[in-house]
Amino acid sequence: MTKNIILVGVGGQGAILVSKVLTAGLVKAGYDVKMSEVHGMAQRGGSVSTQVRYGDKVYSPIIGLGQADILVAFEKMEAVRYAEYLKPDGVAIINDHAIVPMSVAAGQATYPEGTIEAMQNAFSCLVVDASRIAQSIGNARCQNIVLFGAMTKILGLEEIDWVEILKETLAPKILEINLLAFNKGREVEA
């Protein structure tokens, strides 16, 4: 049975790094894995999505609407944007963090109120204050790995030693802080 994960956020938030760690673990565990990411114009501060699929045999590298088992949103409004991709019984893991798009900054649109509540009314959700947690350990940029830590608990896959995978995939100079971020993410109560 193929499992589908969609990671969404704003260009530059580190979704690609998370999918790199995630897929490294899945490959090591012996799964067939496919992953799809975006480059170019789509990366420039826009809304981005990365998809990871794993199972015994995976054909398509991408999914369509209503196919994701897990949605990981690095930004809360992006959770709403991609909610249609979740299966009705899928789980959303949401960073309780807003990044204001240009249209809102310029006063031409309003950032929607109650995005997290709306998601919680529709799906089973794990809300993580990843940005604040990352700041508390001294590096706001680690919010992606905090979120990843929280996500590994939802994933199951207890056979994968994620700490080992992080050691194998991350550059030495960012490893220590990210291991801390990962453990903080693991501590988040579902």
């Binding site: 170019g40 789509a42 590298p61 209503g66 240009m102 900054a105 006063g107």
Partner: protein
């Protein structure tokens, strides 16, 4: 051991294993990482960024004429630029194996159209290979080199965004060297005089007839017989989608070589099934040919030729099954791409945005984003290098209409200038229009992810390279007043525009400051902050269109994570509230 890699990485690996000796390319999403992954094989492969796709194709073809295996790669619209040498190369034939990689972009993730470049294979009369995952990118490109040599033709290797940028598992092989024969001049083959072309014309048809025979036996075209009710003929990424959508007893004819189509094989397959579907992304390239051969099938009646496919969409189109989704009671506002926070060239567009009488003809790349609100500083973007020439055309039209009110600017980046902007700069001078050409020089090819170019001082291998100075080029053309300015200094930027406008002699503007994403440069970084007491909420700072600046609780605020301290907003603030 298997490696999880993108199609682009795998294509580079495959070319290396195939004994590639010379490669030349111009970056373009989604093709860029193919050549970014070649320098790791530098001991065996010479690779470079050329100024544009036409040059890259000519370089690779030249290497082929000299006898070695060669490759070029580009995005789909790049093939339009490279079409001229390609259409002659098919008439002449090759020396060493010559592979042209076209990376198409269904859905226009990062492109201006979603042209289906498979038609180029039919149009220019060359074999077409289409991989459906990373392993096939690696394996099929090796077959492409062999085919090129066997049939004496360039081979079009067509990938798409989801082939290029999705990762799947790949097994490696060793490199196989292909020692070329000593070079011998062959005028009849490689000099495209009309007489030689006339002789080549029927030879090309004969090669295609042989290729079709080969296609019918090619190991790239495989049958999977699982039942007799439904048959699917498919290729490329659409194969992966079809495998997930059709029931287990569906038979497949999966094509890796899609031009010339293996029509005998297709006929035989069609007889084995009751109902035949053609599943292909974008245009009915295979379907038209299959229907023309009198084979009954279903394709574009159900499957759209617009945007990219995915399994859910295909399922809906074939079986009418809508996916179960849950409506969320909230609406996300759009988040279009924007110039990066601290983009050095924001100051240029901010300055241009203040004048309603300016007509600004832009170009492909990051600077296209000057069109976005609140900058709104762009009238047109057409193609690579088109900024100057489209501006010239508009200026001539305004002249013809007796309209003296519009001031026309052509705007492009440094890489686009070397790509095909220089000819437009010559045009403006030669045919005398009052266009001011502006080169926004960030010393790199930005949008595709920081690739070097003739103005950046390094080459693809990361070696120092001669820097061609844009101002020297313009000066040698005859631009007498060239205003070189730091666009982050708004006063200097305004002065450069005013001076260029009032110049009697031909004038050009170069705004120069490197892209902040260039890793090898140490950028000075700071942080701007709003003094809430001084802020009068006039919102003028928002006019910079910087993603880091926003309003909160009635005051301007700057996102400390995004801000790099370029101070453009601080220069705009009339109350000195930003420091």
């Amino acid at each position: 051991m298997k490696h999880l890699m993108t199609g682009n990485e795998a294509a580079a690996r495959g070319a290396f294993e195939a004994g590639l000796k010379v490669g030349s390319a111009y970056p373009g999403t989604p093709s860029t990482e193919i050549f970014e992954n070649l320098p790791q094989y530098r001991e065996h492969v010479y690779c470079e960024w050329a100024p544009n796709e036409k040059v890259a194709t000519e370089v690779a073809y030249g290497a082929s004429i000299a006898g070695v295996r060669s490759m070029t790669a580009m995005k789909h619209v790049g093939v339009n630029v490279a079409a001229d040498p390609i259409f002659t190369a098919t008439y002449n034939g090759v020396g060493g194996g010559f592979v042209i990689v076209s990376a198409d972009d269904p859905d226009m993730h990062s492109s201006q159209n979603e042209q289906d470049n498979r038609y180029y294979a039919k149009f220019a009369k060359m074999p077409l290979i289409e991989p459906s995952d990373s392993q096939e990118c690696k394996d099929f490109i090796k077959e492409a080199f062999a085919l090129s040599e066997r049939f004496d033709l360039p081979v079009l290797f067509r990938m798409t965004t989801r082939i290029c940028h999705s990762k799947s598992l790949v097994e490696f092989c060793e490199r196989e060297e292909h020692e070329p024969a000593p070079y011998k001049r062959d005028v009849a083959k490689f000099v495209c005089t009309p007489a030689n072309a006339k002789r080549h014309r029927p030879m090309l048809e004969a090669k295609l007839a042989e290729l079709e025979k080969y296609s019918n036996q090619s190991p790239l075209n495989t049958e999977e017989i699982n039942g007799t009710k439904i048959g699917v003929i498919t290729a490329s990424i659409a194969y992966q989608y079809a495998k997930e959508v059709f029931p287990a007893d569906t038979s497949f004819l999966k094509l890796g070589m899609t031009y010339p189509l293996p029509m005998e094989k297709i006929k035989a397959f069609s007889k084995k099934v009751d109902k035949l579907y053609i599943v292909e992304e974008l245009e009915p390239f295979m379907e038209e040919q299959i229907k023309a051969a009198g084979i009954e099938c279903i394709g574009k009646e159900l499957i759209s030729n617009q945007y990219e496919q995915n399994p859910q969409r295909l399922n809906e189109e074939i079986y009418g099954q809508k996916p179960a989704t849950v409506k969320v009671d909230s609406v996300a506002v759009p988040r279009p791409p924007a110039l990066c926070p601290g983009c050095p060239h924001r100051g240029f567009f901010y300055t241009m945005s203040k004048r309603k009488d300016f007509v600004i003809c832009g170009d492909i790349g990051c600077y296209t984003l000057g069109c976005a609100a609140p900058l709104n500083a762009m009238d047109s973007v057409v193609c690579m290098g088109g900024g100057f020439s489209v501006a010239h055309g508009m200026a001539k039209a305004f002249e013809a209409m007796g309209d003296n009110g519009h001031k026309v600017f052509g705007v492009l980046g440094d890489s686009t200038f070397f790509h095909s902007g220089m000819t437009g700069a010559a045009e403006i001078l030669y045919n005398r229009s009052h266009v001011i050409p502006c080169v926004l020089d960030n010393s790199i090819t930005g949008m595709t992810g920081q690739q070097d170019n003739p103005g950046s001082g390094e080459n693809l291998l990361g070696e120092p390279a001669p820097t061609i100075r844009i101002e020297d080029v313009l000066k040698s053309f005859g631009y007498q007043n060239i205003f070189i300015v730091d666009p982050q200094d708004l006063t200097a930027m305004q002065k450069a525009v005013d001076d260029a406008l009032s110049s009697e002699d031909p004038a050009a503007i170069i705004t120069r400051r490197p892209c902040l994403l260039i890793k090898k440069i140490k950028h000075e970084r700071g942080l701007c902050r709003v003094d809430a007491d001084k802020c009068r909420a006039c919102k003028l700072c928002l006019k910079a269109g910087c993603p880091a600046v926003f309003m909160e609780d009635g005051k301007a605020k700057i996102d400390a994570q995004l801000c790099v301290g370029c101070k453009v907003c601080a220069q705009i603030c009339p109350f000195g509230a930003i420091e």
